[in-house]
Amino acid sequence: MTDAKLEFDAAVGAKQEGWNRPPVMEPSGEGGVLELAMGPHHPSTHGVFRMDVALDGERVIRLKPVFGYLHRNHEKLAEGMSYLGSMPFTDRLDYICSLTNNWAYALAVEKLTGQEVPERAEYLRVILGELTRVVNHASSIGFLIQEMGASGTPLMYAFREREKILDLFEALTGARMMCNYMRFGGCRVDASAAWLEATRKVVAGLPGFVDEFEQLLRSNEILMARCQGVGILRPDLAVNAGVTGPLLRASGVNYDIRKVDGYGIYNRFKFRVPLGDHGDVYDRFMIRMLELRESIKILEQALKEIPVGPVMDAKAKIRGFRPKAGEAYGRIEAPKGELGFYLISDGGPNPYRYRVRPPSLINLTILEDMCLGQNVADVVLIFGSVDIVLGEVDR
């Protein structure tokens, strides 16, 4: 892992024209082609997702993702209810990281209505967002290793830490998973001094966890043999396909919306953006490991600097407001990539159009390109390294 090798703009300009999907591979001609439906009930599809693969022996020569098994009409429902009414539904998009979903949606509505967010609320959002990132990256590494066959152990390490953080979420927001915490113009309730103290304690324990976790996995021979050189994603292809998040950075493209947009108060914190060299499964795994460390850095700074004050803008309207006709797009660096909400208002109490830009779905679109020519056993691994949640893919 080194510093930026490829600037984002250069990569965008490089191979824009002439980019085509790679041709589907030809079978070798011996033994025919086996067509196989992996999923929707497959233990490693992270829910209900189907991959129709064509196999030439062990080699994948075609892969077609089939979506829609968890299509829950999120966007349609949101167009029929008030702006606030959609907030609990955003929890259920990417159900591992409900708080970052809240944040992205709140950001979009704040842009639409032009609301301000108080200082303390911004800090709380950063703290909760980064805690969410820790939860997501730890569990996604755990799931990835489990798909490799290490049944249980790494996932148990990850979930041990997840439980500690979920206790904090529960103490603050009242719910373990579906927090429904952020509001337009701030946060729902203030964090007590005791809560901040408990969070400092948990954060103080996190570097030890990451050390332990990394030591357990990083130089494991089996993990290296299975991951290195598998599922390589070229940076130009990644950029052209609109891939974001750790998947893009593992391919070496320096693009983190926390740095690019500096939304919220991210400009104030010192942290680095880890980048990968090869863009294989191992790099994606390591990027998540390194991002865990960067998140801890941000958490430590935010917890030190958090000011006192209100968490809700006094002028902010939560209910019954009618934004002026117009549109807004709010985006954040969610743990899985760029999560954006696009809202069009026609002046009514509910959005005219409500669109989610889910990182999981868009990162999945290049699954075939990563899988072609690989062994079928590695498809599971490559799929796991993309790190998706089906609630967000299908919505």
Binding site: P40, H41, H42, P43, H46, G47, V48, G68, Y69, L70, H71, R72, N73, K76, L77, G80, P88, F89, R92, Y95, I96, L155, M156, F159, R160, R162, E163, R176, M177, M178, L390, G391
Partner: protein, 204 residues
């Protein structure tokens, strides 16, 4: 016929185990419920959390999650069942070997939950397959899933091997396969299985 409790304890002290086939059979069944490794949506994450160290589902003999329906005794419907997924859920249930049980975990599996108004969401999986335990919540806490397990164990314990309340696999007449719905022009067809679910009559 159960053995008198006091006599049983007295004999136990002498090193004699007295039991009935029924008790032994049910004890075996309830102590090794193997769930199917089958997550649908949000609740699946809490289901995984239940198997992890803090809640430790292994205490109930149910930590062995099987990826194949052929080896599983219990299906935990953990999340929203959409109309695209419902036929697969019923098919998987049909593939499980008897005796088999179903826990409907969470509001979505029970009734469609918050997504009930959605055009693609099934309003409760109990329209197609018999559900043994419902746990409300969105998502239910891991403790709630443990409670569901204990409820299911009590239910298995109370099942006689003969007579009216015997389990389905001991009843030659009982329905073993459940019809798999197909995607019709507007909705799943049939919209429910009248054998397991009837439209509730609202008394006002």
């Amino acid at each position: 016929m159960a053995v008198e409790e006091g006599l049983k304890i007295e004999l136990g002290k002498q090193g004699v185990l007295v039991t009935t086939i029924e008790e032994l059979y049910n004890w075996g069944r309830r102590s090794s419920i193997w769930p199917m490794q089958f997550g649908l949506a949000c609740c699946a994450i809490e289901m995984i959390a239940t198997t992890m160290a803090r809640y430790d589902l292994a205490r109930f003999g149910a930590e062995v999650f099987r990826p194949s329906p052929r080896q599983a005794d219990l299906m935990i419907i953990s999340g929203t069942v959409t109309k695209k997924m419902a036929p697969q859920v019923v098919r998987l249930y049909n593939q499980m070997a008897e005796p088999k049980y179903v826990i409907a975990m969470g509001a979505c599996a029970i009734s469609g939950g918050p997504f009930k108004q959605g055009y693609n969401v099934l309003k409760g999986i109990d329209r197609y397959i018999p559900v043994d335990v419902h746990i409300p919540g969105c998502p239910p806490r891991p403790e709630a899933l443990l409670q569901a397990f204990m409820t299911l164990q009590k239910k298995i314990d109370a099942q006689p091997l003969t007579g009216e309340g015997r389990p389905r696999h001991l009843d030659a007449e009982a329905q073993g396969e459940f019809p798999v719905p197909v995607q019709g022009e507007h909705d799943l067809e049939p919209t429910s299985n009248p054998g397991v679910w009837t439209v509730p009559v609202v008394i006002r």
